[in-house]
Assembly symmetry: C2
Homo-oligomer: 219 residues x 2
């Protein structure tokens, strides 16, 4: 990783056109070739950047970064305060716990949390407008579509509504019911779900984890 602190101007031409007036900034060049221009604030997002794969050409105080898609980033260095490089090596990567995919896994393993005697038919059941998280059947054989969210907001209810509309057209699924499952279901989402005959369930993540087998734990 190369780190350059310099007074510079930057121009990006590609999906949009963007220009940075002259100022002192950090230019970060990673081992995979990606380039990011950082100011001293504004969260982690750089002011300007170019992702790999790309080509970096240095010509005196002018850097040209181009990629196969035809985008270009031009950096003009007016004054360089530091220019250092470090070997970081391969990163072992981030281990995450507590995201929607994990919730979905846990619920797929034990759908009874969502209602009496629910049995899983399949996860990511496909429709022509995208896959529904869980397709189940209850004891009476009625199909049940489940949308799982970490935070249950109005968008999720809309999403489940679209799926139900599509699934209802399949004769084998006629009469399908909807369940909206999330750790927290916001008031607006509750109202919308109820007005559409969709049942909503708040899930206790820690309780679900408690019944989980040890080797499923990530760390």
């Amino acid at each position: 990783m190369r780190l350059v602190i310099a007074r510079c101007t930057v121009d990006y031409q590609g999906r949009l056109a963007a220009h940075l007036p002259e100022a002192v900034r950090l230019i970060m060049v990673k081992a995979d070739g990606c380039v990011a221009i950082h100011a001293d604030g504004g969260a982690y997002k750089p002011l300007n950047w170019m992702n790999a794969p790309n080509t970096l050409r240095e010509d005196g105080g002018t850097w040209s970064v181009t990629n196969p898609a035809g985008e270009s980033l031009t950096i003009t260095l007016h004054e360089v305060f530091e220019d250092s490089a470090h070997e970081l090596g391969q990163d072992p990567g981030l281990v995450k716990d507590g995201v929607e995919a994990h919730l979905q896994e846990l619920l797929a393993a034990d759908p009874s949390t969502l209602g009496d005697d629910l049995e899983l038919v399949r996860r990511e059941y496909p429709t022509d407008i995208g896959p529904v998280d869980l397709l189940c059947r209850d004891r009476s054989g009625t199909a049940v579509a489940v949308e799982v969210k970490r935070r249950g907001e109005i968008d999720g209810v809309e999403q489940l509504t679209r799926y139900l509309e599509r699934l209802e057209r399949d004769p084998a699924l006629r009469g399908i019911q909807g369940v909206f499952a999330a750790q927290v279901v916001k008031p607006q989402a509750r109202v919308l779900a109820e007005s559409r005959g969709i049942r909503w369930v708040e899930i206790d993540y820690d309780a679900l984890r408690g019944i989980e087998v040890p080797q499923m734990r990530l760390f």
Copy 2:
């Protein structure tokens, strides 16, 4: 801006739990207090981060970053290879051109791209759930609401559907039609739009720019 290259482990506890095993990484601390942990690859997004406002406490080789929302980032330094600081100053900021606002401008200037003889009534026409991008009328006097996107996805169709439902309640707009305009309209969005009687149009941005007057350009 402080830049530290170090062998470290990192743990985040907050909206989820995430762990980084020991490896050499860049730790960037910006003037506003935000902290980002970068590996030597993988676009501009850091592996882990904590945005301002937060509190950084250094205790030997252990850094604790906490924020008012109760999230925490713990960095354990095992070996420090570099630790430098630089004064960057206030950044004048980015000048952008070519985003959705620009597309909307161009279409407002020439709505005929969207359909025969469309005439603009007004941009950002207000409804009680937000403004619709363009309100037009066609030759027959029928109102037409236009939602403009750079990339036409399912969310945009939902958005336009909500506006149409509101606008239909206005007697002066009864019978209003919807047009979903984007540089690219994704297949799922096409299906949903058609099933709701909304016409979709793909826009050629470069062709629109070609007929644009020079003083509309930003730089």
